[in-house]
Amino acid sequence: MNIINLTENPNRPDIFHKYNVESRHALVIDNGSFKCRAGWSNSEKPILDFRNFILKPRRDRRKEVTDPLINKHTQIGNAITNLESVRLNLKTQFDRNIVTHFHNQEQIFDYIFAHLGVHNEESFTHPVLLTEALGNPNYFRQQMNELLFECYGIPSVCYGIDSLFSMRHNAVGSDTLIISFGYNTTHVIPVLDGQMRIENVRRLNLGGYHIIHYLHRLMQMKYPMHINAITISKIETLLHCHSSIALDYLEELRRWSDIDYYTDNVKKIQLAFVMPTTQGTPQNQDQKIEKRKELTRRLIEINARRAKSKQLDMENQLRFMSSVRELYEIGEMVEFEAALKQNDIENVVALDKTISSLRARLQQMETSTQDSSQIANRAPKEKTSNNKKPPTDVPLEKWVSEINLKRDEILGRKEVRKARRQEAAKRHTAAAQERMRIISLLAHNDKGIDNFGVNDNDWDVYKSINKDNESDSESDNEKLLEYETILSKHDPSFKQNAIQSSDVAENYQLHFSVESIRAPEILFQPSLIGCPEMGVADLIDFVLKLFPADEQQRLVNGILLTGGCSQFAGLKERLSKELLEKRPFKTPFKIYAAPSPEIDAWLGARDFANSNDFNNSLTLKSDYEEKGSDYFKDHLYSNRYYANA
């Protein structure tokens, strides 16, 4: 059995690094919509690597506004350690793959500068190399320029495209077809003689984000009871570790439809659960019963004591009243009057009345106490008689099997009734039509007088209507319950069945089967999520067809797969297969998968920042001031600059 325990890796907060970098080194930031990597151009690896997430502190509306937000600051990236609990409040600076929310971007920059340790400097003296999306509109670049130059006062900036830097780092050749699988988008970028052919670049607006959310919803709807336990973090791990791209999707589906293949290959994800407290061991049960008995006994005692004291009171009162009455009979009128006054009694008649009523109540009390003691003695006996035992003259096995048969019979009857009910609910069945016929006959009344019900037999018509519609009878249900209790007591096989069906751990397992190939497949068939664009394989073919045959061949000799989503198992094989189908017969092609697709864009950008071309590619603050706020210098690895006409 393939049981997976998904662990959510909590983030570790980034440390604050020391700043001791010469100002000729550039600050390299790969600002991706999934993750942001930042570091100096003289470092081996990006120093910071965090998810581009922002968590703003939220003021509790119920609390006073003046309450200072103690320990509440904006948290970013790895500082958010409780990702799932705040998932809904996370903000990002991105709209699709473009930075649009610059107040969030400002927070991200603050975070980067603080963690690189430069925040205490008087001014920032390093050039900045920042990646941006292909085709980033001028408006947003202008905003970025404004933020960098006006707010942070940086000396110069260089914008580049992450996929092109990735190509630079992987150095496949001067002719490359880059296929970049990003978080929000997938790009197909043809590069000939080291120059990006920007007019033939195409973008599929699908990426890891869509895969994650598709799988998330699929699993949630498959298991609605675990809707809150299926978190995005878990889905991400599931995609990273247990999903793949099918070589032949239809063939894979055919295999999954076979039940044996399914049981052999299905992965079961064990969710955390709490074992419900079981019905209690027999010993526990006995103790409970004992306790209950003890309690009832004590209650009865208390009641009896109370009744007894009341009885005594009344007897005393009666005795006193009788003595007063005697005084009246003897003729001691003065004393008698005083006694009456003392007890608020008007005259002799009233006295007689109270005496007689007291007598009656006393008598009643005596009889009732006798009754209750009888009940108390009888009650436990009734309960024990409920546990049925096999008749002494029949062997146990035979008795059990008989009961089993009876139970099956009742179950069968219930089943038949249910089927009949369902049948009756449909309009076209014979039963339903007969019913409608009777009802319409009843409604049809040509005499114009309604004497239905005058004759008692009239009501029998409902018996014929409802004949097939009766609900499960009470007695059947009761009997079923009785049989089941007997069986669970005397039939070991029955008990086992019941336990198996209610295995708790299994209820908390998610079956992960077709979904493992279904979710990543949306890259190849966007129609799966209702996206009208063509799949990545078709898009590659489309882009290739924009070139003459010889250039097509040069491009396919160096296909580079990069971007986080290119790490799906089976992606290279699938693309090979698709290309083999689409390319002319017997023409070669070569696919390279980037060895470290997550950070090679940053590494390529760092290499570029250390090259001689870098200084010529910088947009200086003076350029920003003179040539327009949306101006930037374009170079080999950047977008083209088109001034608005």
């Binding site: 948290q75 610059f102 925040h119 400097e121 006062g153 699929l218 966007p526 129609s527 799966l528 009208p532």
Partner: protein, 114 residues
Amino acid sequence: MSEEPPKICFKNPKYSYIEPGGKKHVFKSLKQILAVEKTQQWPEGAMTYSSFNAPPSLRPPKKYSDISGLIAPYTDPHSKLRYANAEEYSIVKTLPSDIVAGYLALRGASSIVG
């Protein structure tokens, strides 16, 4: 929780995204800007964000079961869900309406015009 984030000394203190009235600056969305870009005049051969979009698919979309993902030859006329076999149909019949709507939305088929 987190400690106080350190102050960035070289930051221009006057630069702020909160406007003088105390109102937050409203950022234009990508969609708005793309609409503007379409109306603007561009030099010959210029590529804007929208011109990179992949063309629509020319293949007829394959029909997969909403529930299992298998090839689905049938559609339930009542819920409009696709299903692969009788067993799945019995599941489709019992699905509550929110799940049905969820599956349709996931496939992008929840539009009335659709």
